[in-house]
């Protein structure tokens, strides 16, 4: 094979391999993609393929205070979680990346551990803990619980961002008289802005579609969109769920696109 192998000259094995990858891809995405035509199929029957085209399900979604209320709650919790997790995660990541203190590795491991713990276990623990503190059924409770879950992801994103920075720049700023806090706010944070934006979106996304922990904590007042969707599945399949699912997916896709753009910006800025 020469350097300029054209697609038509691919071997059989290569075609089979592409077919396999394509198959896996379709298998993984088809369930979420299917909800889109269903959500546009009108309210009389939730079926695939849809028999008519209508935005009726979306109208019903936005007419129902339960659905819209949960969407707003999800957005509020997601935004608040993203702010809190990014703030805490930024300081934690900076300390872990640049500090040199006793117990550094242990603290790092503890901070990252929620990634490894099954979310049902976190949910149970948080449930008992928050019951004592009267945080069940509150937005604050949801934000705090989601922060536990998202901080490790924020730290991982920011640690990789910090690794890209030239540490000598921070040393130089210190020699020029800047205090450690000023170095962080004026030198590190501006250079890390794309990583911070990525971490923020990532945290928002995790919080936005988190179901298990929210189910335990939401109670009756602070129900997020996934919790209402899950609840409506248990009782009777409300047709609006297709519209809700589609909007959830589209939000996620939008955020992932933004995330990809920030990552690209970061690479070109470095």
């Amino acid at each position: 094979m020469g350097k300029r192998s054209s697609p038509s000259r691919r071997g059989i094995a290569e075609w089979l391999f592409l077919l396999l990858i394509g198959g896996i891809y379709v298998f993984l995405t088809l369930p979420s993609v299917l909800t889109i035509p269903i959500s546009l199929g009108g309210s009389r029957s939730v079926t695939f393929p849809p028999t008519e085209f209508s935005l009726d399900l979306y109208r019903r979604f936005f007419a129902s205070p339960v659905w819209t209320g949960s969407l707003v709650e999800s957005l509020i919790v997601g935004a608040a979680t993203a702010v809190l997790a990014t703030l805490i995660g930024a300081f934690a990541a900076y300390g872990l990346a640049r500090g040199n203190f006793i117990g550094q590795k242990l603290i790092g491991a503890i901070l990252l551990s929620p990634i490894l713990v099954p979310s049902i276990v976190i949910a149970l623990g948080v449930y008992f803990y928050f019951s004592q503190m009267k945080l069940i059924g509150t937005t604050t409770g949801l934000v705090l619980a989601h922060s536990i879950l998202t901080i490790p992801y924020v730290i991982v994103v920011l640690l990789s961002g910090l690794r890209q920075l030239d540490q000598k720049i921070e040393t130089a700023a210190g020699i020029m008289g800047a205090s450690p806090l000023r170095v962080f706010t004026h030198v590190v944070v501006p250079q890390l802005r794309y990583s911070l934006a990525s971490a923020f979106l990532f945290a928002f996304l995790i919080s936005f579609d988190e179901t298990v922990i929210s189910w335990f904590i939401a109670g009756t007042h602070a129900t997020t969109l996934p919790v209402v969707m899950y609840g409506s599945l248990k009782v009777e399949v409300a047709p609006e769920i297709a519209a809700a699912a589609t909007m959830l997916s589209l939000t996620s896709i939008t955020i992932i696109l933004c995330y990809a753009i920030f990552q690209k910006q970061e690479k070109s800025a470095a």
Binding site: N100, G174, I175, M176, G177, A178, S179, P180, P190
Partner: protein, 392 residues
């Protein structure tokens, strides 16, 4: 002055303060004259576990002096520079800046300027704001910031780049900006850590002159770290040659090159033609006795007896035309000829296994000897440098 007695800050990267030892009381130095050194290092030692990175180094830097720390990697030059900048703290020893004990003072409270190999400019700030950074930290008024940054840009001959970002400048321009940034707050001492290491050869030469010009114009006190001997010899008032964590030789470039004090020093500056011999005193100066060459005449002063190393630089040797003599003469055969630009190096075998390198200016009109030619080489007694053994 209270901070001079403080122990290293807790957040610092490194704190191997000798346990329980308080810093010595500050001597009163009100009588300091302008001739006192701007920077004084006394018995600086740095241990990393069992490894001695820096071994009892003492060095004074005079006001307006350009001192170069020269040495191979692992020689301790960077460790010494880092102790001066405040990036690390010494295991023992003391450091004074303009009469103030700064041994345990945090880097940011020392007020020293520093230039790094990879420029370390802030990519998110314009050139103007990069140079203004140390002034902003010092809360200098806006009007004065503007004036001083523009002045610094004039000095580095880049008046038009204020609005650009570092990435829009070439490597050489970025390094000039880094120099401007280190000058703009008028630090008493400027440190440069291999500042030309990231530049290509031609640019390096230009920048050597540029840095030297700025140094001379402003009368700066500078410590310059490099592993490039040519750079050290070209730029410095004094070269401090480091090896194995110690100062191996220190002096003016001329002296350190022509009569190196130690074998390490001779070896570092193009180490060829280094031999050993026993000393005997003749009527008109030192005479060395080499077991193969016989007597070798050396300079007037020298050790009285014992075995020493000696050296003669390749460019001090010349081919003797028939009938001409020299203080020291040897016969040999040309084994190998290497052209390296301005100089041509001849390897001349004088005896089995013993070889001299002779360097001559490359001359197309009058070619030197050819390979296999029988030649006589000679050198003056002043060109024989007697060496102290390397301290380990």
């Amino acid at each position: 002055m209270t901070e001079t007695l403080a122990s290293p800050p807790r957040w610092a990267m490194d704190h191997t303060h000798p346990s329980g030892r308080d810093a010595p009381a500050q001597p009163i130095r009100n009588t300091m004259a302008e001739t006192a050194p701007i920077l004084r290092m006394e018995g600086l030692t740095k241990l990393y576990g069992a490894v001695t990175a820096l071994d009892n180094v003492s060095l004074d830097v005079a006001r307006g002096e350009f001192v170069t720390l020269l040495g191979p990697s692992g020689s301790g030059k960077t460790t010494l520079l880092n102790i001066v900048s405040g990036a690390i703290f010494p295991t023992s020893g003391a450091l004074w800046l303009d009469g103030r004990d700064i041994t345990w003072v945090e880097a940011r409270r020392r007020g020293i300027g520093m230039v790094f190999q990879n420029f370390a400019l802030m990519p998110h700030l314009s050139i103007f704001e990069n140079i203004a950074f140390p002034l902003r930290v010092r809360k200098v008024a806006n009007a004065e910031v503007k004036e001083r940054v523009m002045e610094a840009l004039e000095l580095i001959r880049l008046p038009g780049v204020a609005a650009r970002k570092p990435k829009q400048l070439s490597g050489g321009q970025q390094q000039r900006v880094a120099i401007a940034r280190a000058l703009v707050y008028r630090p008493p001492v400027i440190l440069m850590d291999e500042p030309l290491g990231a530049l290509d050869r031609k640019l390096r030469h230009q920048m050597q002159f540029e840095i030297k010009r700025i140094h001379d114009d402003l009368g700066l006190s500078m410590i310059y770290v490099t592993h490039d001997q040519e750079e050290a010899l070209t730029m410095s008032d004094r070269v401090c040659l480091m090896g194995a964590g110690r100062i191996q030789d220190i002096g003016a470039p001329q002296r350190i090159y022509s009569s190196p004090a130690t074998e390490f020093s001779a070896d570092f500056f193009g180490g060829t033609n280094i031999f050993r011999a026993t000393v005997s005193r003749g009527p008109d100066g030192t005479t060395l006795h080499h077991e193969v060459f016989g007597p070798v005449l050396g300079p007037g002063a020298g050790p009285q007896s014992g075995e020493v190393g000696w050296m003669v630089r390749p460019e001090q040797l010349r081919f003797l035309p028939p009938g001409e003599g020299a203080d020291n003469e040897l016969a040999g055969v040309v084994r190998d000829i290497t052209l390296s630009g301005q100089l041509t190096h001849y390897a001349v075998a004088v005896s089995d296994g013993l070889e001299f390198t002779v360097a001559c200016l490359t001359n197309h009109a009058t070619r030197g000897p050819f390979e296999g030619d029988q030649v006589r080489i000679g050198w003056s007694r002043q060109a024989t440098a007697i060496l102290k053994p390397t301290e380990q």
